[in-house]
């Protein structure tokens, strides 16, 4: 301890400079949104390179489990193709999207606002506000992009809501993470005129430009009907476990600019 204090005292000028520089950088990021964003991007770039290095080391040992997940995903796709007319209808609603495959190189699950980092960036065509899906449903929305990496605002973020609907009748609301169990979500804004059963399937509602309609999200596990407010409070358990994700698809919506321009037109 004494040696550390002696070393600090020997380099007092440098220590003072670094401390004041830290204060100045905090001051800078608090005063300017541009600098805050740029600092976030810089941090993301550095963290991306670091995690890509460690990922390439550990990837080899996870190959067996990855293969298993891919096999299951393939099987589900083949089954969907074999189902016939109904699944064709579901397939056509995916039209207008292009999927960009990516690997998650950094994941966090322990905070109320979790962020993932994917190894594809603007060079691969990734842009801000693109939806991200995995083998078993929605993963999140891209919120920052550098040439080689993308930061994803994860579904495990208490401030993110996803447009979700009942598969059986299309009644839609907003799906939120409850902030504790990574698979426990809450579906809000469903009017009590819509019947709810435990076990009902919840899918993406298709009312946003992030995700196509009909991507399976989870199942109803419990619900309460608030007669005063006129809405159900529905507990939903996700089909997939977001904490074991590695491979994702970033979705480019070809019609987004057209849809956005329509939204901007005021009567």
């Amino acid at each position: 301890m004494q040696q550390i204090i002696n070393a600090l005292l020997r380099n007092l000028s440098l220590v003072l400079y670094l401390v004041l520089l830290g204060f100045a950088l905090i001051f800078l990021s608090n005063r300017s949104f541009y600098h805050q964003t740029q600092m976030y991007r810089l941090g993301m770039g550095i963290s991306g390179w670091l995690h890509q290095g460690s990922k390439s080391l550990t990837q080899y040992f996870e190959l067996e489990r990855e293969n298993e997940i891919l096999q299951r995903e393939n099987l589900a796709l083949v089954n969907q193709l074999l189902k016939g007319k109904d699944s064709f209808a579901a397939q056509t609603s995916y039209l207008g999207y292009r999927a960009i495959p990516a690997d998650l190189i950094q994941k966090s699950y322990h905070s109320p606002k979790n962020v993932f980092i994917a190894d594809q960036g603007s060079r691969a065509g990734v842009q801000k506000e693109m939806g991200v899906i995995g083998a078993k449903g929605v993963v999140g929305i891209v919120n920052q992009v550098t040439p080689n990496f993308a930061s994803i605002m994860s579904l495990l973020d208490i401030d993110l809501s996803i447009n979700a609907a009942f598969q059986k009748n299309g009644a839609f609301g907003s799906l939120y993470w409850t902030g504790k169990d990574p698979q426990a979500f809450e579906l809000k804004d469903i009017s009590i005129i819509n019947p709810v059963r435990i076990g009902d399937t919840i899918v993406t509602g298709g009312m946003s430009t992030y995700f196509p309609k009909g991507i399976p999200l989870g199942q109803v596990t419990a619900y309460e009907s608030d007669r005063v407010q006129g809405y159900h409070q529905i507990q939903v358990r996700l089909f997939g476990n977001p904490t074991v994700l590695n491979q994702v698809y970033i979705l480019e919506n070809f019609g987004r600019s057209e849809l956005d321009s329509l939204k901007n037109i005021r009567p």
Binding site: L12, S13, L14, L16, Y17, L20, L21, F23, A24, L25, F27, L28, R31, S32, Y34, H35, Q38, M39
Partner: protein, 168 residues
Amino acid sequence: MNRASSRLFARFLCLLILQVLVFNQWVLFGSIFPCVYIFFILSYPFEANPQEVTLVGFLLGLSLDLLTQSPGAHTIATLSIAAFRPAVIAISLGLITDFSSIFSRRIKNLNLFYFIGILTWTHQLIYFTVLYFSGEAWLQILTRSLVQFILSGLFIFLVLSLYSRDDS
């Protein structure tokens, strides 16, 4: 407060007010203006404690940022040149110097030019790097810092010429 400290404090205030009210208003090409306030760091006594100079640099930059509503680039640039100043004194004026400040008549003009030039350009370079904060803007950072360096350098030499140089 002794006489030397009072004089330094008065210089601090004068340069700060002049920078905010006069020099910051002479904007060329959108964002180029002479940074004359750094004359305070350049003219600070050489024998002063380096930590004191660093702290003074931080306060000077912070005051200017607060008074001009700029994001914080002045603070980082001024703090940095205040911290680098002892190394620049050694490079431009020699490792062992007995000059008390830039007002010493015994400093050769070329050495004085190096001293002011290195610190002024470092300041401008850091200032624009922080302002743009993006690797893609390197050409703008270089060109703007060079133009502002020339403009600031001219004004700093003009201010220096107003002072009488002594034999200290």
